[in-house]
Symmetry: C2
Subunit: 318 residues, 2 copies
Protein backbone atom coordinates (compact mmCIF):
# COMPACT_ATOMS: atom_id res chain seq x y z
CA UNK A 1 0.00 0.00 0.00
CA UNK A 2 0.87 3.69 -0.27
CA UNK A 3 0.43 6.45 2.30
CA UNK A 4 0.04 10.21 1.85
CA UNK A 5 2.08 12.11 4.43
CA UNK A 6 1.61 15.85 4.99
CA UNK A 7 4.08 17.99 6.93
CA UNK A 8 2.35 21.24 7.90
CA UNK A 9 4.61 24.21 8.66
CA UNK A 10 4.30 27.99 8.92
CA UNK A 11 6.09 28.57 5.62
CA UNK A 12 5.08 25.57 3.52
CA UNK A 13 2.75 22.60 3.29
CA UNK A 14 4.73 19.55 2.14
CA UNK A 15 3.18 16.36 0.85
CA UNK A 16 4.66 13.02 -0.10
CA UNK A 17 3.57 9.58 -1.17
CA UNK A 18 5.34 6.99 0.92
CA UNK A 19 5.58 3.22 0.48
CA UNK A 20 5.58 0.51 3.14
CA UNK A 21 9.34 0.82 3.55
CA UNK A 22 9.12 4.55 4.27
CA UNK A 23 10.51 5.55 0.87
CA UNK A 24 9.15 8.86 -0.44
CA UNK A 25 8.12 8.22 -4.06
CA UNK A 26 6.58 11.59 -4.94
CA UNK A 27 6.82 14.98 -3.30
CA UNK A 28 4.96 18.23 -3.73
CA UNK A 29 4.94 21.42 -1.66
CA UNK A 30 3.03 24.68 -1.65
CA UNK A 31 4.04 27.88 0.09
CA UNK A 32 1.95 29.37 2.85
CA UNK A 33 2.28 32.24 5.31
CA UNK A 34 1.71 32.48 9.05
CA UNK A 35 -1.05 35.04 8.43
CA UNK A 36 -3.13 33.02 5.96
CA UNK A 37 -6.67 32.31 7.16
CA UNK A 38 -7.38 28.82 8.52
CA UNK A 39 -10.22 28.16 6.10
CA UNK A 40 -7.92 28.91 3.15
CA UNK A 41 -5.16 26.65 4.51
CA UNK A 42 -7.64 23.78 4.69
CA UNK A 43 -8.48 24.46 1.03
CA UNK A 44 -4.77 24.48 0.15
CA UNK A 45 -4.32 21.15 1.93
CA UNK A 46 -7.28 19.53 0.16
CA UNK A 47 -5.94 20.67 -3.22
CA UNK A 48 -2.43 19.47 -2.37
CA UNK A 49 -3.71 16.00 -1.45
CA UNK A 50 -5.77 15.74 -4.65
CA UNK A 51 -2.88 16.98 -6.79
CA UNK A 52 -0.19 14.68 -5.44
CA UNK A 53 -2.38 11.61 -5.74
CA UNK A 54 -3.49 12.44 -9.27
CA UNK A 55 0.06 13.34 -10.41
CA UNK A 56 1.50 10.15 -8.91
CA UNK A 57 -0.91 8.09 -11.06
CA UNK A 58 -1.27 5.63 -8.16
CA UNK A 59 -4.74 4.13 -8.17
CA UNK A 60 -7.11 5.20 -5.41
CA UNK A 61 -7.40 1.66 -4.14
CA UNK A 62 -3.70 1.52 -3.35
CA UNK A 63 -3.79 4.59 -1.09
CA UNK A 64 -4.34 3.48 2.52
CA UNK A 65 -4.99 6.99 3.80
CA UNK A 66 -3.69 10.46 4.56
CA UNK A 67 -1.63 11.33 7.64
CA UNK A 68 -0.88 14.89 8.75
CA UNK A 69 1.50 16.31 11.34
CA UNK A 70 0.93 19.79 12.82
CA UNK A 71 3.31 21.92 14.94
CA UNK A 72 0.89 22.38 17.78
CA UNK A 73 -1.92 20.89 19.78
CA UNK A 74 -4.13 18.37 18.02
CA UNK A 75 -7.05 16.33 19.35
CA UNK A 76 -6.23 13.22 17.33
CA UNK A 77 -9.38 11.25 17.97
CA UNK A 78 -11.72 14.11 17.12
CA UNK A 79 -9.66 15.20 14.11
CA UNK A 80 -9.45 18.76 15.46
CA UNK A 81 -6.43 21.10 15.34
CA UNK A 82 -6.67 23.12 18.53
CA UNK A 83 -3.85 25.58 17.94
CA UNK A 84 -0.53 25.78 16.12
CA UNK A 85 2.72 27.71 16.31
CA UNK A 86 3.05 30.13 13.38
CA UNK A 87 -0.02 28.89 11.55
CA UNK A 88 -3.47 30.32 11.84
CA UNK A 89 -5.27 27.13 12.81
CA UNK A 90 -7.39 27.48 15.94
CA UNK A 91 -10.10 24.91 16.77
CA UNK A 92 -10.28 23.73 13.17
CA UNK A 93 -12.23 20.47 12.62
CA UNK A 94 -9.60 19.48 10.07
CA UNK A 95 -10.73 15.95 9.21
CA UNK A 96 -14.38 16.97 8.81
CA UNK A 97 -13.49 19.97 6.64
CA UNK A 98 -11.19 17.96 4.38
CA UNK A 99 -13.92 15.35 3.91
CA UNK A 100 -16.34 18.12 2.95
CA UNK A 101 -13.80 19.25 0.40
CA UNK A 102 -13.83 15.84 -1.24
CA UNK A 103 -10.98 13.93 0.44
CA UNK A 104 -12.53 10.50 0.80
CA UNK A 105 -9.56 8.59 2.20
CA UNK A 106 -9.14 7.81 5.89
CA UNK A 107 -7.47 10.89 7.40
CA UNK A 108 -5.39 10.86 10.61
CA UNK A 109 -3.89 13.91 12.28
CA UNK A 110 -1.48 14.40 15.17
CA UNK A 111 1.23 16.59 16.62
CA UNK A 112 4.46 16.57 14.59
CA UNK A 113 6.63 15.15 17.41
CA UNK A 114 4.17 12.24 17.65
CA UNK A 115 4.53 11.64 13.90
CA UNK A 116 8.31 11.85 14.22
CA UNK A 117 8.53 9.03 16.75
CA UNK A 118 6.26 6.85 14.63
CA UNK A 119 8.50 7.46 11.59
CA UNK A 120 11.59 6.40 13.54
CA UNK A 121 9.85 3.36 15.06
CA UNK A 122 8.45 2.13 11.75
CA UNK A 123 11.21 2.89 9.23
CA UNK A 124 13.93 4.90 11.00
CA UNK A 125 16.56 4.53 13.70
CA UNK A 126 14.35 2.37 15.93
CA UNK A 127 12.84 0.28 13.14
CA UNK A 128 10.75 -2.54 14.57
CA UNK A 129 11.00 -1.45 18.21
CA UNK A 130 7.81 -1.31 20.26
CA UNK A 131 8.97 1.15 22.93
CA UNK A 132 10.64 4.35 21.71
CA UNK A 133 11.02 7.85 23.14
CA UNK A 134 12.13 10.70 20.87
CA UNK A 135 12.96 14.23 21.92
CA UNK A 136 13.35 16.97 19.33
CA UNK A 137 15.74 19.66 20.45
CA UNK A 138 14.96 22.96 18.74
CA UNK A 139 13.55 26.33 19.76
CA UNK A 140 11.57 24.28 22.26
CA UNK A 141 11.78 20.63 23.25
CA UNK A 142 9.15 18.23 21.93
CA UNK A 143 8.60 14.62 22.92
CA UNK A 144 7.10 11.73 20.97
CA UNK A 145 6.41 8.55 22.92
CA UNK A 146 5.66 5.11 21.52
CA UNK A 147 4.57 2.56 24.16
CA UNK A 148 4.03 -1.12 23.43
CA UNK A 149 3.33 -0.28 19.80
CA UNK A 150 0.86 2.50 20.59
CA UNK A 151 1.39 6.25 20.34
CA UNK A 152 1.01 7.90 23.75
CA UNK A 153 -1.33 10.87 23.50
CA UNK A 154 -3.25 10.98 26.81
CA UNK A 155 -6.84 12.01 27.38
CA UNK A 156 -7.94 14.30 24.48
CA UNK A 157 -4.40 14.00 23.12
CA UNK A 158 -3.30 16.55 25.70
CA UNK A 159 -0.33 14.54 26.96
CA UNK A 160 3.19 13.69 25.70
CA UNK A 161 4.34 17.17 26.75
CA UNK A 162 7.65 16.00 28.16
CA UNK A 163 9.29 19.38 27.56
CA UNK A 164 7.24 20.63 30.49
CA UNK A 165 8.41 18.11 33.05
CA UNK A 166 9.83 19.79 36.13
CA UNK A 167 13.55 19.12 36.47
CA UNK A 168 14.73 21.94 38.74
CA UNK A 169 12.68 23.61 41.46
CA UNK A 170 12.45 27.36 40.93
CA UNK A 171 14.90 27.12 38.05
CA UNK A 172 15.22 28.68 34.58
CA UNK A 173 12.06 30.11 33.00
CA UNK A 174 10.35 28.05 30.32
CA UNK A 175 8.62 29.24 27.14
CA UNK A 176 5.33 28.42 28.88
CA UNK A 177 6.22 30.89 31.67
CA UNK A 178 6.66 28.29 34.42
CA UNK A 179 10.04 27.73 36.04
CA UNK A 180 12.42 24.78 35.99
CA UNK A 181 10.99 22.81 33.07
CA UNK A 182 13.05 20.39 30.97
CA UNK A 183 12.69 22.61 27.89
CA UNK A 184 14.20 25.56 29.77
CA UNK A 185 17.42 23.55 30.20
CA UNK A 186 17.62 21.24 27.21
CA UNK A 187 16.28 23.10 24.15
CA UNK A 188 18.63 24.65 21.58
CA UNK A 189 17.49 28.03 22.89
CA UNK A 190 18.64 27.00 26.37
CA UNK A 191 22.00 25.80 25.03
CA UNK A 192 22.64 29.18 23.41
CA UNK A 193 21.69 30.94 26.64
CA UNK A 194 24.08 28.71 28.59
CA UNK A 195 26.84 29.39 26.04
CA UNK A 196 26.30 33.16 26.23
CA UNK A 197 26.52 33.05 30.01
CA UNK A 198 29.77 31.11 29.77
CA UNK A 199 31.18 33.70 27.33
CA UNK A 200 30.46 36.49 29.79
CA UNK A 201 32.74 34.70 32.23
CA UNK A 202 35.26 33.72 29.55
CA UNK A 203 35.30 36.50 26.97
CA UNK A 204 38.70 35.32 25.72
CA UNK A 205 37.39 31.88 24.72
CA UNK A 206 37.41 30.66 21.13
CA UNK A 207 33.64 30.13 21.40
CA UNK A 208 33.20 33.84 22.10
CA UNK A 209 35.39 34.70 19.10
CA UNK A 210 33.25 32.50 16.85
CA UNK A 211 30.06 34.04 18.21
CA UNK A 212 31.41 37.51 17.42
CA UNK A 213 32.28 36.42 13.88
CA UNK A 214 29.18 34.38 12.99
CA UNK A 215 26.51 35.52 15.46
CA UNK A 216 24.96 33.37 18.18
CA UNK A 217 24.68 30.14 16.23
CA UNK A 218 24.70 26.69 17.79
CA UNK A 219 27.39 25.36 15.44
CA UNK A 220 29.89 27.86 16.90
CA UNK A 221 29.71 26.01 20.22
CA UNK A 222 30.43 22.65 18.63
CA UNK A 223 33.13 24.07 16.31
CA UNK A 224 34.91 25.65 19.25
CA UNK A 225 34.74 22.42 21.24
CA UNK A 226 36.13 20.44 18.29
CA UNK A 227 39.09 22.80 18.27
CA UNK A 228 39.69 22.13 21.94
CA UNK A 229 38.13 25.23 23.52
CA UNK A 230 37.64 24.38 27.21
CA UNK A 231 34.77 26.84 27.71
CA UNK A 232 32.77 25.29 24.86
CA UNK A 233 33.58 21.77 26.04
CA UNK A 234 32.29 22.58 29.51
CA UNK A 235 29.10 24.13 28.11
CA UNK A 236 28.43 20.98 26.09
CA UNK A 237 29.20 18.67 29.02
CA UNK A 238 26.74 20.59 31.20
CA UNK A 239 24.12 20.61 28.45
CA UNK A 240 24.48 16.84 28.05
CA UNK A 241 23.74 16.54 31.75
CA UNK A 242 20.60 18.67 31.44
CA UNK A 243 19.37 16.71 28.42
CA UNK A 244 20.27 13.55 30.30
CA UNK A 245 18.29 14.44 33.42
CA UNK A 246 15.00 14.70 31.59
CA UNK A 247 15.98 11.72 29.45
CA UNK A 248 16.51 9.60 32.56
CA UNK A 249 13.11 10.64 33.93
CA UNK A 250 11.52 9.59 30.63
CA UNK A 251 13.50 6.35 30.57
CA UNK A 252 12.48 5.53 34.15
CA UNK A 253 8.85 5.94 33.14
CA UNK A 254 8.89 4.23 29.75
CA UNK A 255 12.04 2.10 29.74
CA UNK A 256 12.20 2.28 25.94
CA UNK A 257 14.42 0.19 23.72
CA UNK A 258 15.58 3.40 21.99
CA UNK A 259 15.94 6.96 23.20
CA UNK A 260 16.28 9.13 20.10
CA UNK A 261 17.40 12.72 19.61
CA UNK A 262 16.00 14.80 16.76
CA UNK A 263 16.77 18.36 15.70
CA UNK A 264 19.96 19.86 14.23
CA UNK A 265 21.95 19.25 17.40
CA UNK A 266 21.81 15.48 16.98
CA UNK A 267 24.06 15.85 13.94
CA UNK A 268 26.93 16.90 16.20
CA UNK A 269 27.11 13.22 16.86
CA UNK A 270 30.54 12.46 18.32
CA UNK A 271 30.43 15.43 20.69
CA UNK A 272 26.99 14.77 21.99
CA UNK A 273 25.39 11.34 21.60
CA UNK A 274 28.13 9.18 23.23
CA UNK A 275 28.26 11.47 26.28
CA UNK A 276 24.48 11.32 26.54
CA UNK A 277 24.53 7.52 26.20
CA UNK A 278 26.97 7.31 29.12
CA UNK A 279 24.87 9.65 31.27
CA UNK A 280 21.65 7.74 30.63
CA UNK A 281 23.20 4.28 31.06
CA UNK A 282 24.75 5.32 34.34
CA UNK A 283 21.66 6.97 35.80
CA UNK A 284 18.63 5.05 34.65
CA UNK A 285 16.81 3.17 37.42
CA UNK A 286 17.31 -0.59 37.45
CA UNK A 287 20.24 -0.37 35.02
CA UNK A 288 21.87 -3.42 36.60
CA UNK A 289 18.93 -5.68 35.81
CA UNK A 290 17.76 -4.38 32.48
CA UNK A 291 19.08 -4.09 28.94
CA UNK A 292 20.93 -0.97 27.83
CA UNK A 293 18.69 1.74 26.36
CA UNK A 294 20.14 2.65 22.97
CA UNK A 295 20.69 6.40 22.62
CA UNK A 296 20.86 7.47 18.98
CA UNK A 297 20.27 10.36 16.62
CA UNK A 298 16.98 10.29 14.71
CA UNK A 299 17.64 8.95 11.23
CA UNK A 300 14.93 10.44 9.05
CA UNK A 301 16.21 13.89 8.19
CA UNK A 302 14.72 16.23 5.57
CA UNK A 303 11.63 14.17 4.83
CA UNK A 304 11.03 13.17 8.47
CA UNK A 305 7.81 15.20 8.64
CA UNK A 306 6.32 13.57 5.53
CA UNK A 307 7.40 10.05 6.47
CA UNK A 308 6.24 10.42 10.08
CA UNK A 309 2.81 11.61 8.95
CA UNK A 310 2.59 8.66 6.53
CA UNK A 311 3.46 6.32 9.43
CA UNK A 312 0.50 7.75 11.35
CA UNK A 313 -1.66 6.03 8.72
CA UNK A 314 0.30 2.78 9.12
CA UNK A 315 -0.28 3.00 12.88
CA UNK A 316 -3.97 3.87 12.86
CA UNK A 317 -5.62 2.58 9.69
CA UNK A 318 -7.29 -0.76 10.32
CA UNK B 1 -16.73 -14.54 36.26
CA UNK B 2 -14.58 -14.66 39.39
CA UNK B 3 -10.97 -13.65 39.81
CA UNK B 4 -8.36 -14.76 42.32
CA UNK B 5 -6.28 -11.82 43.58
CA UNK B 6 -3.09 -12.34 45.60
CA UNK B 7 -1.39 -9.57 47.55
CA UNK B 8 2.17 -10.65 48.34
CA UNK B 9 3.89 -8.95 51.27
CA UNK B 10 6.86 -9.55 53.53
CA UNK B 11 4.68 -10.58 56.48
CA UNK B 12 1.71 -12.28 54.83
CA UNK B 13 0.33 -13.67 51.59
CA UNK B 14 -3.28 -12.55 51.18
CA UNK B 15 -5.70 -14.10 48.75
CA UNK B 16 -9.24 -13.17 47.78
CA UNK B 17 -11.91 -14.18 45.31
CA UNK B 18 -13.26 -11.11 43.62
CA UNK B 19 -16.32 -10.68 41.40
CA UNK B 20 -16.76 -8.47 38.33
CA UNK B 21 -17.76 -5.53 40.49
CA UNK B 22 -14.58 -5.73 42.57
CA UNK B 23 -16.34 -7.18 45.60
CA UNK B 24 -14.20 -9.55 47.69
CA UNK B 25 -16.31 -12.65 48.33
CA UNK B 26 -13.79 -14.86 50.15
CA UNK B 27 -10.51 -14.08 51.82
CA UNK B 28 -7.68 -16.19 53.14
CA UNK B 29 -4.20 -15.28 54.34
CA UNK B 30 -1.10 -17.13 55.44
CA UNK B 31 1.79 -15.70 57.39
CA UNK B 32 5.27 -15.56 55.94
CA UNK B 33 8.63 -14.09 56.92
CA UNK B 34 11.16 -11.99 55.04
CA UNK B 35 13.73 -14.76 55.46
CA UNK B 36 11.66 -17.66 54.05
CA UNK B 37 13.22 -19.30 50.99
CA UNK B 38 11.77 -18.38 47.59
CA UNK B 39 10.99 -21.98 46.65
CA UNK B 40 8.95 -22.41 49.83
CA UNK B 41 7.04 -19.18 49.26
CA UNK B 42 6.04 -20.43 45.80
CA UNK B 43 4.76 -23.59 47.46
CA UNK B 44 2.82 -21.52 50.01
CA UNK B 45 1.28 -19.50 47.21
CA UNK B 46 0.24 -22.58 45.24
CA UNK B 47 -1.40 -24.06 48.33
CA UNK B 48 -3.15 -20.78 49.14
CA UNK B 49 -4.62 -20.57 45.62
CA UNK B 50 -5.83 -24.17 45.74
CA UNK B 51 -7.31 -23.73 49.22
CA UNK B 52 -9.22 -20.56 48.60
CA UNK B 53 -10.75 -21.88 45.39
CA UNK B 54 -11.74 -25.18 46.97
CA UNK B 55 -13.13 -23.53 50.13
CA UNK B 56 -15.13 -21.00 48.12
CA UNK B 57 -16.89 -23.87 46.30
CA UNK B 58 -16.87 -21.81 43.11
CA UNK B 59 -16.62 -24.11 40.10
CA UNK B 60 -13.34 -24.12 38.19
CA UNK B 61 -15.06 -22.93 35.03
CA UNK B 62 -16.13 -19.72 36.69
CA UNK B 63 -12.59 -18.70 37.69
CA UNK B 64 -11.10 -16.47 34.95
CA UNK B 65 -7.59 -16.60 36.37
CA UNK B 66 -5.16 -15.67 39.12
CA UNK B 67 -3.57 -12.21 39.45
CA UNK B 68 -0.66 -11.47 41.78
CA UNK B 69 0.93 -8.21 42.90
CA UNK B 70 4.50 -8.12 44.25
CA UNK B 71 6.30 -5.29 46.09
CA UNK B 72 9.24 -5.18 43.70
CA UNK B 73 10.40 -5.64 40.14
CA UNK B 74 8.44 -8.06 38.00
CA UNK B 75 8.88 -8.96 34.34
CA UNK B 76 5.17 -9.26 33.63
CA UNK B 77 5.32 -10.80 30.18
CA UNK B 78 7.80 -13.50 31.20
CA UNK B 79 6.06 -14.21 34.48
CA UNK B 80 9.31 -13.68 36.40
CA UNK B 81 9.75 -11.94 39.76
CA UNK B 82 13.14 -10.24 39.52
CA UNK B 83 13.47 -8.98 43.08
CA UNK B 84 11.28 -7.84 45.95
CA UNK B 85 11.52 -5.66 49.03
CA UNK B 86 11.45 -7.76 52.23
CA UNK B 87 10.70 -11.03 50.46
CA UNK B 88 13.23 -13.53 49.32
CA UNK B 89 12.19 -13.72 45.69
CA UNK B 90 15.07 -13.19 43.26
CA UNK B 91 14.75 -14.18 39.60
CA UNK B 92 11.91 -16.57 40.34
CA UNK B 93 10.00 -17.88 37.29
CA UNK B 94 6.79 -17.58 39.29
CA UNK B 95 4.21 -18.44 36.64
CA UNK B 96 6.12 -21.48 35.42
CA UNK B 97 6.70 -22.75 38.97
CA UNK B 98 3.05 -22.32 39.97
CA UNK B 99 1.97 -24.20 36.86
CA UNK B 100 4.36 -27.02 37.80
CA UNK B 101 2.71 -27.07 41.19
CA UNK B 102 -0.66 -27.71 39.61
CA UNK B 103 -2.20 -24.24 39.19
CA UNK B 104 -3.86 -24.60 35.82
CA UNK B 105 -5.59 -21.23 35.59
CA UNK B 106 -4.20 -18.32 33.58
CA UNK B 107 -1.74 -16.54 35.92
CA UNK B 108 -0.73 -12.88 35.61
CA UNK B 109 1.83 -11.11 37.76
CA UNK B 110 2.92 -7.49 38.13
CA UNK B 111 4.26 -4.89 40.50
CA UNK B 112 1.81 -3.92 43.26
CA UNK B 113 1.57 -0.24 42.24
CA UNK B 114 0.56 -1.43 38.76
CA UNK B 115 -2.15 -3.60 40.30
CA UNK B 116 -3.29 -0.68 42.46
CA UNK B 117 -3.95 1.60 39.49
CA UNK B 118 -5.87 -1.17 37.72
CA UNK B 119 -8.03 -1.69 40.80
CA UNK B 120 -8.90 2.01 40.95
CA UNK B 121 -9.53 2.23 37.20
CA UNK B 122 -11.78 -0.85 37.12
CA UNK B 123 -13.72 -0.68 40.35
CA UNK B 124 -12.33 2.19 42.45
CA UNK B 125 -12.07 5.99 42.47
CA UNK B 126 -11.51 6.21 38.70
CA UNK B 127 -14.02 3.54 37.71
CA UNK B 128 -14.42 3.40 33.96
CA UNK B 129 -11.63 5.89 33.14
CA UNK B 130 -9.12 4.95 30.46
CA UNK B 131 -6.27 7.23 31.56
CA UNK B 132 -5.33 7.16 35.24
CA UNK B 133 -2.13 7.90 37.15
CA UNK B 134 -1.79 6.74 40.76
CA UNK B 135 1.01 7.55 43.16
CA UNK B 136 1.38 5.69 46.42
CA UNK B 137 3.02 7.79 49.08
CA UNK B 138 4.74 5.61 51.66
CA UNK B 139 8.31 4.79 52.67
CA UNK B 140 9.03 5.36 48.98
CA UNK B 141 6.88 6.69 46.17
CA UNK B 142 5.42 4.24 43.67
CA UNK B 143 3.59 5.02 40.44
CA UNK B 144 0.97 3.03 38.54
CA UNK B 145 0.05 4.31 35.10
CA UNK B 146 -2.94 3.31 32.99
CA UNK B 147 -2.84 4.69 29.43
CA UNK B 148 -5.70 4.34 26.96
CA UNK B 149 -6.90 1.26 28.82
CA UNK B 150 -3.47 -0.39 28.91
CA UNK B 151 -1.12 -0.75 31.87
CA UNK B 152 2.17 1.05 31.18
CA UNK B 153 5.09 -1.22 31.96
CA UNK B 154 7.82 -0.37 29.41
CA UNK B 155 10.27 -2.74 27.80
CA UNK B 156 10.69 -5.83 30.04
CA UNK B 157 8.30 -4.15 32.51
CA UNK B 158 11.20 -1.98 33.66
CA UNK B 159 9.31 1.32 33.42
CA UNK B 160 6.61 3.11 35.44
CA UNK B 161 9.28 4.16 37.96
CA UNK B 162 7.94 7.67 38.38
CA UNK B 163 9.39 7.99 41.89
CA UNK B 164 12.76 8.30 40.21
CA UNK B 165 11.96 11.25 37.98
CA UNK B 166 14.38 14.10 38.50
CA UNK B 167 12.62 17.12 39.99
CA UNK B 168 15.49 19.10 41.51
CA UNK B 169 19.05 19.23 40.19
CA UNK B 170 21.55 18.18 42.85
CA UNK B 171 18.78 18.05 45.45
CA UNK B 172 17.80 15.69 48.27
CA UNK B 173 19.17 12.15 48.19
CA UNK B 174 16.82 9.38 47.07
CA UNK B 175 16.53 5.81 48.38
CA UNK B 176 18.23 4.74 45.13
CA UNK B 177 21.24 6.91 46.02
CA UNK B 178 20.78 9.47 43.21
CA UNK B 179 19.96 13.09 44.00
CA UNK B 180 16.87 15.19 43.38
CA UNK B 181 14.34 12.46 42.61
CA UNK B 182 10.59 12.87 43.15
CA UNK B 183 10.59 10.19 45.87
CA UNK B 184 13.21 12.15 47.84
CA UNK B 185 10.73 15.05 48.13
CA UNK B 186 7.28 13.50 48.05
CA UNK B 187 7.40 10.21 49.99
CA UNK B 188 6.14 9.94 53.58
CA UNK B 189 9.79 9.53 54.61
CA UNK B 190 10.57 12.86 52.94
CA UNK B 191 7.63 14.57 54.65
CA UNK B 192 8.91 13.44 58.05
CA UNK B 193 12.39 14.70 57.20
CA UNK B 194 10.94 18.07 56.16
CA UNK B 195 8.90 18.24 59.38
CA UNK B 196 11.94 17.45 61.53
CA UNK B 197 13.93 20.19 59.81
CA UNK B 198 11.10 22.64 60.46
CA UNK B 199 11.04 21.63 64.15
CA UNK B 200 14.74 22.39 64.45
CA UNK B 201 13.94 25.95 63.41
CA UNK B 202 10.72 26.09 65.43
CA UNK B 203 11.26 23.99 68.56
CA UNK B 204 8.35 25.77 70.26
CA UNK B 205 5.82 24.64 67.65
CA UNK B 206 2.89 22.40 68.52
CA UNK B 207 4.13 19.93 65.91
CA UNK B 208 7.38 19.56 67.82
CA UNK B 209 5.44 19.00 71.06
CA UNK B 210 3.40 16.25 69.41
CA UNK B 211 6.55 14.61 68.00
CA UNK B 212 8.07 14.58 71.50
CA UNK B 213 4.94 12.99 72.88
CA UNK B 214 4.16 10.43 70.17
CA UNK B 215 7.43 9.99 68.27
CA UNK B 216 8.03 11.00 64.68
CA UNK B 217 4.69 9.95 63.22
CA UNK B 218 3.06 11.50 60.16
CA UNK B 219 -0.26 12.03 61.90
CA UNK B 220 1.39 14.47 64.33
CA UNK B 221 2.00 16.86 61.44
CA UNK B 222 -1.61 16.77 60.31
CA UNK B 223 -2.96 16.96 63.88
CA UNK B 224 -0.83 20.02 64.60
CA UNK B 225 -1.98 21.69 61.38
CA UNK B 226 -5.61 20.99 62.21
CA UNK B 227 -5.09 22.76 65.52
CA UNK B 228 -3.73 25.79 63.69
CA UNK B 229 0.04 25.28 64.12
CA UNK B 230 1.71 27.54 61.55
CA UNK B 231 4.89 25.46 61.36
CA UNK B 232 2.93 22.32 60.50
CA UNK B 233 0.74 24.19 58.03
CA UNK B 234 3.82 25.49 56.22
CA UNK B 235 5.39 22.01 56.12
CA UNK B 236 2.22 20.61 54.56
CA UNK B 237 1.93 23.47 52.06
CA UNK B 238 5.51 22.90 50.94
CA UNK B 239 5.00 19.14 50.76
CA UNK B 240 1.90 19.65 48.59
CA UNK B 241 4.07 21.68 46.24
CA UNK B 242 6.66 18.89 46.03
CA UNK B 243 4.02 16.24 45.43
CA UNK B 244 2.46 18.61 42.92
CA UNK B 245 5.65 19.15 40.94
CA UNK B 246 6.08 15.50 40.09
CA UNK B 247 2.32 15.19 39.65
CA UNK B 248 2.36 17.98 37.07
CA UNK B 249 5.22 16.29 35.19
CA UNK B 250 3.21 13.06 35.12
CA UNK B 251 0.05 14.91 34.09
CA UNK B 252 1.89 16.72 31.28
CA UNK B 253 3.03 13.36 29.96
CA UNK B 254 -0.15 11.32 30.42
CA UNK B 255 -2.92 13.90 30.77
CA UNK B 256 -5.01 11.43 32.76
CA UNK B 257 -8.67 11.83 33.64
CA UNK B 258 -7.78 11.04 37.27
CA UNK B 259 -4.66 11.61 39.32
CA UNK B 260 -5.00 9.45 42.43
CA UNK B 261 -3.13 9.41 45.74
CA UNK B 262 -2.68 6.19 47.67
CA UNK B 263 -1.02 5.52 51.02
CA UNK B 264 -2.05 6.62 54.50
CA UNK B 265 -1.45 10.28 53.78
CA UNK B 266 -4.35 10.43 51.33
CA UNK B 267 -6.70 9.97 54.28
CA UNK B 268 -5.76 13.40 55.58
CA UNK B 269 -8.14 14.51 52.87
CA UNK B 270 -9.18 18.07 53.65
CA UNK B 271 -5.65 19.18 54.49
CA UNK B 272 -4.03 17.66 51.45
CA UNK B 273 -6.12 16.72 48.41
CA UNK B 274 -7.81 20.12 47.76
CA UNK B 275 -4.47 21.96 47.96
CA UNK B 276 -2.95 19.42 45.58
CA UNK B 277 -5.92 19.77 43.20
CA UNK B 278 -5.34 23.52 43.08
CA UNK B 279 -1.61 23.15 42.46
CA UNK B 280 -2.10 20.66 39.64
CA UNK B 281 -4.95 22.54 37.97
CA UNK B 282 -2.94 25.75 38.02
CA UNK B 283 0.30 24.26 36.72
CA UNK B 284 -0.56 21.56 34.22
CA UNK B 285 0.37 22.38 30.64
CA UNK B 286 -2.52 23.34 28.36
CA UNK B 287 -4.90 23.78 31.32
CA UNK B 288 -6.83 26.45 29.45
CA UNK B 289 -7.76 24.12 26.62
CA UNK B 290 -8.26 20.84 28.38
CA UNK B 291 -10.58 19.35 30.97
CA UNK B 292 -9.67 19.50 34.65
CA UNK B 293 -7.69 16.50 35.89
CA UNK B 294 -9.53 15.12 38.91
CA UNK B 295 -7.26 14.74 41.94
CA UNK B 296 -8.63 12.25 44.45
CA UNK B 297 -7.65 9.80 47.17
CA UNK B 298 -7.51 6.15 46.12
CA UNK B 299 -10.73 4.46 47.19
CA UNK B 300 -9.82 0.80 47.70
CA UNK B 301 -8.34 0.64 51.15
CA UNK B 302 -7.60 -2.55 53.09
CA UNK B 303 -8.29 -4.97 50.26
CA UNK B 304 -6.69 -2.80 47.56
CA UNK B 305 -3.89 -5.31 47.00
CA UNK B 306 -6.25 -8.25 46.50
CA UNK B 307 -8.68 -6.32 44.31
CA UNK B 308 -5.90 -4.76 42.20
CA UNK B 309 -4.34 -8.18 41.58
CA UNK B 310 -7.77 -9.54 40.58
CA UNK B 311 -8.14 -6.62 38.14
CA UNK B 312 -4.86 -7.67 36.53
CA UNK B 313 -6.75 -10.74 35.36
CA UNK B 314 -9.63 -8.59 34.07
CA UNK B 315 -7.09 -6.50 32.17
CA UNK B 316 -5.04 -9.30 30.66
CA UNK B 317 -7.13 -12.45 30.32
CA UNK B 318 -8.51 -12.73 26.79
Amino acid sequence: MYYVGIDVGGMSLKAGIVDDEGKVLFKKAVKTTPGRAGELIVGDLAQLIKDIISESKISEKEIAGVGMGFPGSVWDEKGVVRYCCNINLVDIPMVKMLKEKGINYPIFISNDANCAVLGEAYVGAAKGAKNVVLITIGTGLGTGIFVDGVLLTGNRSAGAEGGHMQINIGGAKCGCDKKGHYEAYASATALLRQAKEACEKHPDSLMNDLFKKHGYEGYCIFNAAEQGDETAKKVIAKFVKYVGMGAVSLCNLFYPEYFLIGGGIANNGPLFIPQLQRYISRNVYGNKYNPKIKVQAAKLLNDAGIIGAACLVMNRAK
